[in-house]
């Protein structure tokens, strides 16, 4: 008998010919396999009832029977036909794809996870295959050979699994030679699922909250005021300044709207405190609204109709309060809605005036119809005119990089303003690699209603490309802060960084602005807005701040 030391001990035929590759199967023949950590829990019946949505019931993703209505197939096909009549984007995208593969390796979920169905082209093929079967002549004749397939319950389940593994970040759309936008496909897919009462709770509960109470978290007016009061306490502790909290104030010049995530969650609250300090210092005549206390819009992740239903509050409140124009805080998908949808769904806002900065006199011509300005545009203008007294050296302990949030980058083009602001409030700003920022930016992995905890593994996979780029600048430049102008980023990137680049904290830009600003009547600034000591500033001397553009 040979011993383990000798080669003959091992069966040689096993050693050579090693092939673990799975047998090749077409994707249509690969049924969906619901993995824990990759799906989100379904919407509760109660939420659907509040919103008057169809087929409210309690069910679980792992159930065999999803309790669909009897005529589910008819509902979906009619829904599809209707959307093909209403959205040119949908119809053109269904026909135009040549499967060139340019998008295949652009999705962060595919890059981090490797599931081939997360290639954007396949995500659209999930819908396109059904479209071919029921809406094209060739598909009807050729069937599977023509890339067509029958709509079955399994297809519905597959749609659910993969349309809730898309963050609607639009990165693939940048690379597509025909501009096919997977976000649009995903939105259609989710709308169709919605017709059957299939939602995820992490989206539909905030939607129900927002519908009823004005914000995703369901914070009621007294609670909101209270929350802001407590932030004012912290502000006072950090700066010695007591800020006012104008709430539902009629006749104010500006209505300020920001995502509600910044009211409660760390580190978003520090950004919120930054807004309050900034407005106080400027003496801005502004107001918060408890009714329109949500800038974000999870309707975007539900249906076009829901976008309109939730968004209506903003113009309605601006009208009721009689403000002149609206200022919006740092948020990602909120700005997709405000920039690309609000004026269309709830405009025209002819009762408002073209936004004009009361401090610098700048008229924001680029917002002359919608009448809503981004806080970064507003602040960049202030800095450009030298209206802020800044001491960027207070932020010297911060070595910051900037994460372009998907929607401001690819649905708006807000790229330079935040960088301009960052460079003026921080001395140490480093860019991540070129193919991971600006229009090529990688998603945090938790957008479009995926930022919950039951799908944590999926989010971390999706966050890997972003995390890898952050770790690169961390190792190379000692970066310890990641700035992002999105509330979802501020919630999810904390986790992404903790896993892929531990030691990097997440911040909003306005937080850094407020830390660098010199306020009238402030006491010695020993701690930042997080109430953490500022290294090197424990005994600082007041000196002239640099407020002007270099």
């Amino acid at each position: 008998m040979p011993t383990p030391d000798e080669m003959a001990y091992y069966r040689q035929e096993e050693l050579l010919e090693i092939d673990y590759r799975p047998p090749e199967r077409g994707w249509m023949d690969t049924p969906v396999d619901f993995r824990r950590g990759s799906y989100i829990y379904p919407g509760k019946a109660k939420m659907l009832e509040i919103l008057g949505l169809p087929n409210p019931r309690d069910w679980a993703v792992t159930d065999e029977d999803w309790k669909l209505p009897d005529n589910w197939k008819q509902i979906v096909l009619e829904g599809m036909a209707e959307r093909l009549r209403k959205y040119r984007s949908f119809k053109v995208f269904m026909d135009s794809c040549v499967r060139c593969g340019a998008c295949a390796d652009k999705c962060h979920f595919f890059i981090g996870g490797g599931d081939p169905k997360n290639m954007p082209v396949l995500r659209s093929e999930l819908l396109r295959s059904v479209y071919r079967k029921d809406f094209t002549a060739l598909g009807k004749v050729l069937g599977k050979l023509g890339g067509a397939r029958e709509l079955t319950v399994d297809v519905i389940k597959e749609w659910f699994y993969y349309f809730y593994q898309c963050t609607e970040c639009r990165r693939c759309s940048v690379f597509c030679p025909f501009g096919i936008d997977t976000a649009e496909i995903t939105m259609m897919g989710r709308e169709l699922l919605g017709l059957l009462g299939i939602y995820v709770n992490w989206v539909i509960e905030p939607v129900a909250n927002c519908y009823r109470y004005g914000n995703h978290l369901g914070i009621q007016p007294h609670g909101l005021l209270d929350t802001l009061e407590f932030m004012a306490d912290d502000i006072e502790e950090a700066t010695g300044i007591r800020v006012d909290i104008p709430m539902n104030k009629k006749g104010a010049e500006i209505l300020f709207v920001t995502p509600s995530g910044d009211f409660v969650a760390d580190p978003g609250i520090f950004t919120c405190m930054g807004y309050m300090l900034l407005f106080h210092e400027l003496g801005l005549d502004y107001t918060w609204s408890s009714y329109a206390s949500e800038g974000g819009n999870f309707g975007l992740f539900t249906s076009h109709e829901m976008i309109k239903r939730l968004n209506a509050k903003i113009y309605a409140e601006a009208k009721r309060l009689g403000v002149k124009w609206i200022l919006g805080g740092e948020c990602g998908h909120m700005w997709r809605v405000l920039h690309q949808y609000m004026d269309t769904v709830n405009g025209p806002a002819d009762f408002l005036e073209v936004p004009r900065s009361p401090i610098t006199g700048t008229v924001f011509e680029n917002a002359r119809s919608t009448k809503m300005v981004h806080i970064m545009e507003f602040v960049a203008d202030l800095i450009h005119h030298g209206k802020l007294k800044l001491r960027p050296e207070r932020n010297d302990y911060v070595r910051v990089t900037f994460h372009d949030s998907c929607n401001p980058a690819r649905a708006m083009g807000l790229l330079e303003e935040p960088r301009y602001v960052l460079r003026h409030v921080c001395n140490h700003f480093y860019e991540m690699p070129e193919n991971t920022i600006r229009e090529q930016t990688f998603c945090c992995g938790g957008g479009a209603g995926l930022g919950t905890d039951e799908n944590m593994e999926m989010r971390l996979r999706g966050g890997l490309p972003r995390g890898a780029a952050v770790r690169y600048v961390q190792e190379k430049y000692g970066v310890n802060r990641l700035a992002a102008i999105c509330a979802i980023d501020r919630a999810t990137l904390v986790t992404v960084c903790d896993y892929w680049a531990p030691g990097v904290k997440v911040t909003g830009i306005t937080e850094l602005v407020a830390n660098a600003m010199v306020f009238e009547g402030e006491h010695e600034r020993k701690v930042d807005l997080r109430l953490e000591p500022i290294p090197g500033m424990e005994g600082e001397q007041e000196s002239e701040g640099s407020g002007s553009d270099e």
């Binding site: 490797g114 992490w202 978290l217 369901g218 905890d453 593994e457």
Partner: protein, 188 residues
């Protein structure tokens, strides 16, 4: 350990073979891309696998300490801990290195007489497997911590606020703002 000496001269070939074996644990459509795209930012998984396997093979043949080897494995395991693998699959690729080295020895007549040195090398690989398991558990643990931390971050301020004493506060100030409204987080 003449065998190890000899193998050190071929460590690149061994690492390459092991990498191919490891790539085979992914779907074929994915594996090719992981292998081909050399960009560390658009292909972080492929980058980690490539650099990780090279470092581990080098470290193993040079007889590095567990600490060093663990560092070489770290990124690969961190990635595989969030991908859709069963635990056995996630760390199992380490043991494939055994077969790779055996095949290398078997395929070369100058190495075959030195096969008796395989035993010790394989012991090292087994220890490597245990290291991988430690790392895997560490990262799985971290994922659960991250879940808990997210939860904490979303309520910590609320609790801090409720506990803070504020003279002169009145009205809704003492009431939990979330009592009537549903909470943000749903559950199944």
């Amino acid at each position: 350990m003449e065998l190890v000496e000899q193998l050190r001269g071929r460590q690149e070939a061994i690492a390459r073979r092991w990498l191919e074996d490891t790539l085979a644990t992914y779907a074929a459509e994915t594996a090719r891309r992981l292998d081909r795209d050399q960009d560390r930012f658009t292909n972080p998984v492929g980058y980690a696998l490539r650099t990780g396997t090279q470092a581990v093979v080098a470290g193993l043949l040079e007889g590095r300490t567990a600490e060093v080897l663990s560092g070489c494995l770290d990124e690969i395991i961190r990635i595989r801990a969030v991908q859709e693998f069963a635990p056995s699959q996630a760390v199992g690729f380490v043991f494939r290195l055994r077969e790779v080295i055996r095949a290398e020895v078997q395929g070369d007549s100058t190495l075959r007489p030195l096969a008796s040195g395989l035993g010790e090398l394989e012991e090292r690989i087994e220890r490597l497997g245990l290291l991988a398991f430690d790392l895997y558990m560490k990262y799985r643990q971290r994922i659960f911590e991250l879940r808990v931390n997210e939860m904490k971050r979303s309520v910590a301020k609320v609790i801090e606020r409720m506990n803070r004493f504020r003279p002169g506060a009145e009205g809704g100030g003492l009431e939990d703002p979330g009592t009537d409204g549903p909470s943000e987080r749903g559950s199944g």
